[in-house]
Symmetry: C2
Amino acid sequence: MQTIELQSSKYHFIGDTLETVGTSSVFRQVTIRPAMSGHNSLFVGQIGDWTWDAITALCGTNVFNAVNTSGAPTYLAFYYFHIRSSPVIHPGCLTFGDRIEILSTPFNFGSESILTLHRIKKASPGEPPAQSIDIEEFYDFPRSDCLYVETFNRWIARSREKSNRDLVKSSPVDFKYSHLCSLPEKYSPRLICSQARLNQTFHDIRSPEHVCVIDDFQTEYRIDITRDVNAVGLVYFAAYFSIIDGALLKLWQQLGRSAQSFLKRIVLDRKLCYLGNAELDSLLSITLKSWRKRDDPHNEIYNAVIQDSETARVIAVATMQIASEAPL
Amino acid sequence: MQTIELQSSKYHFIGDTLETVGTSSVFRQVTIRPAMSGHNSLFVGQIGDWTWDAITALCGTNVFNAVNTSGAPTYLAFYYFHIRSSPVIHPGCLTFGDRIEILSTPFNFGSESILTLHRIKKASPGEPPAQSIDIEEFYDFPRSDCLYVETFNRWIARSREKSNRDLVKSSPVDFKYSHLCSLPEKYSPRLICSQARLNQTFHDIRSPEHVCVIDDFQTEYRIDITRDVNAVGLVYFAAYFSIIDGALLKLWQQLGRSAQSFLKRIVLDRKLCYLGNAELDSLLSITLKSWRKRDDPHNEIYNAVIQDSETARVIAVATMQIASEAPL
């Protein structure tokens, strides 16, 4: 029983540590490694595993091989992924050997969904481990030395074998969540995501502080089965981060900007909502828009809408706030 | 001092365990997670981290932030990567929640290089942890329930800032290796790699058991900075596995085979030797050849030679033995 084993233990590995904090959080210290960093989606994928680890540790079910009431495999799919960074700490600045600490806290959203908050910072020797997530700090007063990540997941199973369309809600029998705290309604990702679904962006298009720069940049991407498919034959959620970055790079270069300036960009905020599932042979059409701050041309917002080019179904909506020093 | 901390300890995490076996090996049990599996290069990248972990645990230096005598960062670059599988266990069959155990043993190759052997198998409850790698088993009598991986690494540093060409040998001061066993000369990867460099393949082209199927299939790939670049700005070694798979898929489909049959292929043996370094803007030309066994058309050998299309410098040579059920 892995999850029981964990309740009151503390573990180490090559200086990495992990401990559960009561029954509500998991705290770990990690050394950044090649397989979880770089100019790709590896760090995002790692955070996804931390979500599954935290829920496995605290919610009585082994997320990695969960089954629903009918005995079919059920997956804790990513529906919403939000990374909030700062110029001091952002995914692009983490490199080999960096020591980081992560406090992960899941919240009660009923039997079919779960929200997990991760607070990530450079490890400070001597500083006592964080004991709980401060919701106000997380949402309203973020520290510049912390990276904040929200993942909102839903239990899904295939309704038709071998098809990745029409996935249905389906939570495992042993999934325990009633002991978890509830999140104040005003912070619920449900409203944010339904707005994004409606507006096809997380950006407030009426914002007077922003001017539109690119109104409509179209590109296509075909799912690459040598890169985008996870071990259970679904398109890997983290792959969408690379797919969007690839489209953004095309726009970036069309604007006459260099690859080096792209690698140096700082993604201050990144929201991605998964609204549909792609088949493994899907051709995706990607529409990008961008805005910039009226008083700061280096503060840009990029929006991506990913659709199945055949059916026009919206697969994902993503919005990024980027600080760049690229010539405009 | 992380490495000292490790010497006599045993650690757990969500059921994962790791322990050093004397001063020569590291033994771990791991649950397969999304970020380390799938139809991509994630599992290969994970094995790479296990190599760096094992050497960090046993060789007195923190591989993740090693510096050379002049204080410059030095990287334990992958020069040769060999995965030997079986139909019973191969990278493509590992899925979420699988429990595997890995015994990792580095061998003394002097101050500038190191070979690490990994033996990977499904965890067997109750079975005592393996204490040492059996060299004869590893090279001459592999078990069908084990996955065997060799990684041969060399310490390299940039000779010119911001350039990935002309990387130079450069080991860290605190790198300890004299306590490690030496590998019998006949198993040294040096001969195998120099042969591959000479012949541009690991396959014995004079083998009477094989007939050539594809003599020369050409394709190109431009390094994708949104997918292929690691945190220190070098092309990630694991990305070459995806790059080669992408080229192979093109050939596969030109042969009229389906994406599903590609996903179902079993890679029984895979050797990759890194002979040069690509710049981040490199256009690579990839040349594929294939052979099949005279008496078994489903037993195929594919060879890839990756060159910098501008200079024709050979970047990598790879050979794969594949069992497929695709119609020929």
